[in-house]
């Protein structure tokens, strides 16, 4: 088993972890993190599979570089929206210790 294939397997596992997080977690912040984990897993699969036979392939690497930057942008937007949701929903001042439940109803 080549190291590229190992990367791809780890990427698959990360993707599934992230997917589980997106589905099962309540807190918005955790969901955003889990979504990022899914993305990282996908990148790892792409890069890992492309170098199964030992030689790195520049095309998927460039695509993954593009993907990472887009993921950063999407995360920033998601965080901004989550924050907006949080402040918007709590116009009576926000609870001192926001819990998962608050986010779900927000």
């Amino acid at each position: 088993m080549s190291s590229g294939l190992l990367f791809a397997i780890v990427g698959c596992l990360l993707f599934v972890f992230g997917l589980g997080g997106v589905i099962l977690l309540d807190h918005l912040l955790r969901r955003i993190l889990a979504f990022n984990l899914m993305g990282s897993g996908t990148f790892l699969v792409l890069v890992g599979l492309a170098q199964r036979d030992g030689t790195p392939d520049p095309v998927p690497q460039a695509m993954v570089l593009t993907g990472i930057v887009v993921a950063v942008a999407a995360t920033a937007l998601a965080l901004a929206l989550a924050r907006r949701l949080h402040t918007g929903a709590s116009n009576p001042p926000p609870p001192a210790n926001p819990t998962c439940r608050d986010d779900r109803h927000a």
């Binding site: 294939l5 397997i9 599979l49 030689t55 520049p58 570089l65 990472i68 942008a73 937007l77 929206l81």
Partner: protein
Amino acid sequence: MLTLLAGLLVSALFDLPPAQIRLPVFVADHLAESGVRHPVTAVLLNFRGYDTFLEVVVLLLALVGVLASGLPKDRSPFTGNVLLQALARHALPLMLLAAVYLLWAGAHQPGGAFQAAAVLAAAAVLFELSGIRTSKRPDPRWFRRITSAGVLLFFAVAAAMLGNGALLQYPPEQAGFFILLIESGLTLSLAVNLAAFFLLRSTEPGDAQATDNEP
């Protein structure tokens, strides 16, 4: 369920046939006419420049989205930590230097506009967090202007290449210059863009008001 999915995905990896198209060979064959010597940069800014252009547009869109979602009225308190300030004073010049080096290195080894921009943006965030500067923050409009300028520069170069038959088709002898031009512009605008994601989250109340009232 999730374990089942993981098992399926992993077993699918083992069944994959070897790739039918040898992309590395194509890239290696055309590397000489791309204007740069590093294959990833060549793919990023020459062979698949279209993707990179749209990616920059996506970043700009995300910034517009962040701005449109409304700036916070509150500002999280940044304490002027002495250790953090000392670290920032030593690290910031080095980070600037590293960013310029990464930009230049992109032509022949790992590096490039995105990496340089990430380092620059991190420097800006460190600068903000350390609380060295206490004066008023720059107008959010400047974030938009600089970021748009990078995208427009990329687009202008892309459109100027239309005379060669297609968008972003550089003449081989000048490709290196155009790629460096685009990368320099992108470094600045992407750094501002990435830093803005963080900095605009920590705007002072007065600034937030000013942006809200802007047409």
